[in-house]
């Protein structure tokens, strides 16, 4: 973590206004989808965001891709602030930050051929001439393991895994530095998942890509990530290098998540129960630590004071958790 980070977010917030129905309805609430998140992505590494559905990980990823405007906070990319970029400069930045989507069916334009989809970023940025772009499409399809002979087919003629490869090829068209992968494999069959994950790893090595991987699947995260951040209700509750996090989870939520991983073979479950209760309504998050209503360790202080994200005593480099009673149980 000595080299300057490729992308850095400081105290990022994204709130959504919830409006009532009708012409003259006012705002009836605010969803705090992302709340005071700071993180740094090291170049060439994979940073994983994990959490339950609704915890704000997708919103955070889309905010970092500047698809949402953050409500507060700042995003820096290669040392330059990009939070408020507009117009031409934003378009230029789009070359460096690309996205891979979750749904391989909805993320490809059904009326475009594969060649048109993969070369669309090139056309938008006026890269190369017609022949050069066709050449680049062949290169990219080759790189993601699709036969370039399929370039004139339409997306509906492909399987889910192949479609995801098309999406990956499109994301790589402009030689981006950072690729934000939002649940890239969760819509795929398990057998295809590992193929796509290995492809992503190969491409990372080949092109020196940095990944921000959003996933709810701890197996995927364990396979891919160099560093992991666990989100709960819009906040990062624990962040650590992968091995540290899986060996010594120190936030009770992370511990519960790890316990909840199903194990084949029907052996005994790890000691300690899973999580009870529901994720609180993000319209009215609980006071104090947002996790306290479901936390087995909760005490009075948890109901009143929001714990800061601080270094875990006795643990390695860069392991931080937001808990009053953090530590390996």
């Amino acid at each position: 973590m000595n080299a300057p980070p490729l992308l850095e977010a400081r105290n990022l917030q994204k709130h959504f206004a919830v409006k009532g129905a009708g012409l003259f309805a006012g705002r009836i609430g605010t969803v705090r989808a992302v709340e005071d998140v700071s993180l740094a992505l090291a170049a060439g590494k994979t940073f994983a965001l994990v959490g339950e559905s609704g915890c704000g990980k997708t919103t955070l990823a889309r905010t970092l891709a500047l698809l949402h405007r953050p409500s507060a906070g700042a995003i820096h990319f290669r040392g330059k602030e990009i939070t408020h970029l507009k117009g031409r400069q934003l378009k230029l930045l789009r070359r460096d930050i690309q996205v891979i989507f979750q749904d391989p069916y909805g993320s490809l334009d059904p009326r475009m051929t594969v060649a048109a989809i993969v070369s669309e970023p090139l056309r938008i940025h006026r890269v190369g001439d017609r022949r050069g772009r066709a050449e680049r499409v062949r290169e990219l399809m080759d790189a993601v393991g699709l036969s370039p002979a399929l370039a004139d087919r339409y997306p509906h003629e492909f399987s889910g895994g192949q479609r995801q490869r098309i999406g990956i090829a499109r994301a790589l068209a402009l030689n981006p530095k950072l690729v934000i992968a939002d649940e890239p494999v969760s819509a795929l069959d398990v057998s295809v998942q590992s193929q796509v994950l290995n492809l992503l790893q190969d491409l990372q090595e080949a092109f020196g890509l940095t990944y921000l991987l959003v996933s709810h699947d701890l197996a995927v995260v364990a396979h891919m990530a160099h560093r992991v951040a666990v989100m709960y209700l819009g906040r990062i509750v624990e962040t650590a290098p992968r091995d540290d996090l899986f060996a010594r989870p120190s936030h009770p939520y992370t511990q519960a998540l790890l316990r909840a991983v199903p194990r084949p073979g029907g052996g005994k479950r790890r000691p300690g129960g899973g999580l009870g209760g529901e994720v609180p309504n993000p319209l009215s998050p609980p006071a104090g630590c947002p996790f306290h209503p479901r936390c087995p360790r909760a005490e009075d202080i948890c109901r009143e004071q929001l714990p800061a994200l601080e270094a875990v005593p006795g643990s390695g480099d860069g392991h931080r958790a937001a808990c009053h009673f953090k530590g390996w149980e």
Partner: protein, 299 residues
């Protein structure tokens, strides 16, 4: 991975989208019949000058209200008879096909262009702009269609072109609403976000990414409105607010023949039949298009 790309290229290439569309479309016999009728009408309209047995405005003084050929007193010279001033009805119907098709085309082009524009704007710029556009459309929808057309023609003055303008305005709200709904629906999909991530500007998103995916319902609505446009134009013509005599427009022909209904049934029947057959064919065609283009209706 080489395995499954190899199997895919080995499999027979799936049919071209147009071919697939045609195989879906031709399953519907009514739609094919409609298409045939429309092609015939279009052919007649284009070559009316050659095909028609007489010029449409020529008055034959010796043959006022001559009956059609199979009735007593009819002659082979005027197959469908003549009208009150001795003009050949068949020739006038053939030339009238021209007007009807042109009216339909212009009305649809006008309202489709404006409707798609307004609908996309409403779908992309939520908020005040959307409210303004959609409430204006609601007001247009609150007035009975023909009444609204009459009001507009009354303001602009009678005439074929003003009638077409008026009918275009009448059909606008449906197209705006359809476009807006489809645009909002498509805009939420990831492929639009992907275009945005690639750096696509607003115009590209509107017209290149979203619009082609909204076209299926619009094509269907346009085809169905085509027939209503012909009907409304005929109605305006009948009321004396559309095409003016002696233009051989079908509605105007009906209006001219009003007083002779009792004595000479053919002067109203044939223009009426022409309207009926054309509109019916267009409706069948529109239904067939909808079935073939809308994936939700596919079996």
């Amino acid at each position: 991975m080489t395995v499954d790309s190899a199997t895919l290229s080995a499999a027979a290439a799936p049919p071209h989208p147009l071919r697939e569309f045609w195989s879906d479309f031709s399953e519907n016999k009514g739609a094919v019949a409609g298409l045939v009728v429309i092609v015939v009408v279009a052919f007649v309209a284009v070559f009316a000058d050659v095909l028609a047995p007489h010029p449409p405005h020529e008055q034959y003084r010796d043959f006022f209200l001559a009956p059609p050929v199979w009735q007593e007193g009819g002659t082979t010279e005027f197959l469908l008879g003549t009208d009150a001033v001795g003009r050949d009805i068949l020739a006038r119907i053939m030339h009238g096909a021209r007007y009807s098709l042109i009216i339909g085309l212009i009305v649809i082009t006008l309202s489709l262009t404006v409707g798609i524009g307004l609908g996309l704007i409403a779908g992309f710029f939520r908020g005040v702009v959307e409210i303004l556009i959609m409430r204006a459309m609601d007001i247009l929808l609150a007035l009975p269609a023909l009444l609204l057309a009459i009001v507009i023609v009354a303001i602009l003055g009678p005439g074929l072109f003003n009638a077409m303008l008026a009918i275009s305005v009448v059909y606008l709200p449906h197209l705006v609403r359809l476009t807006r709904a489809a645009a909002i629906n498509e805009r939420a999909k990831d492929y639009v976000t992907a275009s945005k991530v690639s750096g696509a500007g607003l115009l590209r998103l509107m017209f290149i990414t979203v619009l082609p995916n909204c076209m299926a319902p619009l094509i269907v609505q346009a085809t169905l409105s085509f027939s209503s446009a012909i009907l409304d134009a005929a109605a305006l013509g009948f009321l004396g607010m559309g095409a003016q005599p002696p233009t051989p427009e079908w509605g105007t022909m009906l209006a001219d023949a009003r007083e002779f209904v009792q004595r000479a049934w053919w002067v109203v029947t044939f223009p009426g039949l022409a309207i009926l057959v054309t509109v019916l064919a267009l409706n069948l065609l529109g239904d067939g298009l909808r079935d073939a283009l809308d994936p939700r209706l596919k079996r």
